[in-house]
Amino acid sequence: MRSVFITLAAAGILALSSLAQAGTLQDVRKNGFLKCGTHIENPGFSALDANGQRIGFDVDFCRAVAAAINVPEVKYTPLTSKERLPALQSGEIDLLSRTTTYTMSRDANMGLDFTNITLYDGQGLMVRKSSGITSARQLDGATVCLQTGSTTELNVADYFRRNGMNYTPVVFDKQPDVRAAYDAGRCDVHTTDVSGLAAQRSLMKNPEEHVILPELISKEPLGPVVRHGDNQWGDIVRWTVWLTMAAEEYGVTAENADKLFAESPDPEIQRMLGKTGTLWQDLGLDAGAPVRVLKLVGNYGQIFGRNLGPGTPVNLPRGYNEQWTKGGLIYAPPFR
């Protein structure tokens, strides 16, 4: 009798405590919307369209995760770079998708878990074509225009010291000011992340007079971030992103997802799209999740092309963000 009572009490306490810290998935389902932290504005990553809807590369991964869970709505919280990590820790958002660089200190100290790397970015350098410079190693003595208060400044300092070169920094608070100063000829070099450099170049008076040097002077692996400790939630985000990556590898697009679901004889595609096996159910989702995601946002290549690819102001070459089969780093584990 006594032992039964103790068992019941223990079960009760367990039930209570699991209620108190219900998983993020349950919270999102209960609320009916996903709270996603993103940029207020960053060309290609987050912006507003004429209907007041958010669009962009980071935004698409929020939409993908919401589609996977099958909640109808994403609530975007625009965050500054100082605000983004506390917002995730305090539970104000469920998912942070805001060009956040994967670093060891953030992973170790901040109570955060990085999920995937959705974009291999890096700091790049832009110079005038007329200067004849073709490599960053020729930049000894250059004047460098850059934005203050970010890792940009530190990366430049590291790079020049490592290579035994001198430079004069000219710092500004805002990206448009950096651009204007460089465009007016106040410095020889304009530097920021490569994903931003082409966009900045498109706003110059004569975009074709400038060239982005081949070297990246830093590694900026960007990706969605979740709170530490909710492993199921982390897995959902991770596999939703990998789904878009694998879909590109296997040739599944927004347009043919339904058709391939019905007809594809490939067992890997069948498992990935939830036709056979219980992979998605095991994750806490339903078998319809993968097709929903792909029909909404398309595969990784489509997301990239729509927001960052040629024809957009960002105009970023695939580079490292090409599929591993084509020499890039985009690699999804097997759906098995």
Partner: protein, 362 residues
């Protein structure tokens, strides 16, 4: 016999526009020189802007066509202006803020009719308007409209709501603070002094940041305090301290005789304040108060730091749109226009009140 001289108009050069120009700009000769020099400078400065904004500008909705012109691409504003007005508010529900705005303007228009002023039903209308506006914009509940949470409020609408709420809410708080600070109550006075000095000693941006980032860390995670509400509370808190000091100035500007006369009539504290002191004190401080209100209106643009998409943030977010990428100059011009209209409107109200209430200007 007197000759009947027909009435003649005064010479064209001494009345009307020409007369005004002659009197004020051209006589004596050195004024004419100064006028010419100033006109030249203004023209020199305005010409590039005119070229950009009018001569070389386009209004096409096609960004590719706009790109071929060197001037402003007003097509960007033409396509995006609803977003500037309401931010991320759902496009198909945009008629609701518009309806709310029309309702407020209608009530304000009725108030301007002199005959109706002071009518009881008009006062009741004013008291119910905020509730109606809130219900109309937010929806849900008994209204039968789809709910649009404060999360989706943005653009000019959010700027207006934040500043109007802050103005209306800060006013009574600041009157109480000012009364508390000028009273000799042993607890209330130090409290009011401490509040005013503490809040005035902290930048608004810090208060907003505290309210939106630090506060949720202390509160239980399931208590979801509304972000807009937190910003409203922060701004109200901040400006009530400033307004309180303005009102204290008014209280001290009254002569001692007013207080003593009220005491001599046997009035209690609240009657004295309500009937004698505050009506006079508040009239004196209309200009500095409106000054503060204009400050509130412009300082609401700081809410961008806590992730609210107000008029200024819409300018940033829409210019990151690939379609109209980098059209910041157009966006800035457009929102500058709106801020100017609102601030000028407020100072116009202030001038009107000063004219209507004789002692206000003294």
């Amino acid at each position: 016999m007197a000759v009947d001289i027909p009435d003649r108009l005064p010479p064209a050069t001494s009345v009307g526009v020409l007369g005004w120009v002659r009197r004020n700009l051209l006589c004596p000769w050195y004024n004419a020189l100064l006028s010419a020099a100033t006109a030249f400078l203004i023209a020199k400065a305005a010409a590039p802007f005119w070229n950009w904004a009018v001569t070389n500008a386009t209004i096409t909705l096609d960004p590719a066509v706009a790109k071929r012109h060197t001037g402003a691409a007003w097509g960007f504003i033409r396509e995006m202006w609803p977003v500037f007005m309401t931010g991320i508010y759902p496009a198909e529900e945009r008629w609701r803020p518009l309806l709310a705005l029309c309702a407020v303007l209608a009530v304000a228009g009725l108030t301007c009719v002199r005959r109706l002023r002071g009518a009881g039903w008009l006062r009741a209308l004013w008291l119910t308007t905020p509730v109606l506006v809130f219900a109309c914009i937010r929806g849900g509940g008994i209204t039968g409209l789809p709910e649009v949470g404060t999360h989706y409020w943005g653009g000019l609408m959010l700027t207006l709501l934040l500043s109007v709420v802050a103005m209306v809410a800060a006013f009574p708080v600041s009157v109480l603070l000012a009364l508390g600070r000028t009273s000799d109550m042993p607890v209330a006075r130090p409290f009011c002094v401490a509040y005013i000095e503490l809040v005035r000693g902290v930048p608004l941006i810090t208060i907003l940041f505290m309210a939106s980032v630090v506060l949720p860390l202390f509160l239980p995670s399931d208590l979801d305090l509304d972000k807009v509400l937190r910003a409203m509370a922060g701004i109200t808190m901040f400006f009530s301290a400033y307004l309180a000091e303005n009102i204290r100035g008014g209280l001290q500007g009254l002569s001692r005789g007013q207080y003593e006369a009220a005491d001599a009539l046997g009035m209690g504290y609240w009657t004295k304040m309500r009937v004698v002191i505050l009506p006079q004190a508040l009239r004196i401080v209309i200009p500095p108060m409106v000054n503060n209100f204009i400050g509130i209106l412009k300082d609401t643009s700081l809410v961008g730091i806590v992730g609210l998409v107000d008029l200024l943030q819409v300018a940033f977010a829409t210019t990151s749109n690939p379609k109209w990428f980098g059209r910041l100059a157009e966006a800035y011009t457009f929102i500058a226009f709106w801020y100017w209209v609102l601030c000028y409107g407020l100072s116009g109200c202030s001038r009107y009140l000063e004219r209507r209430i004789p002692s206000a200007g003294k």
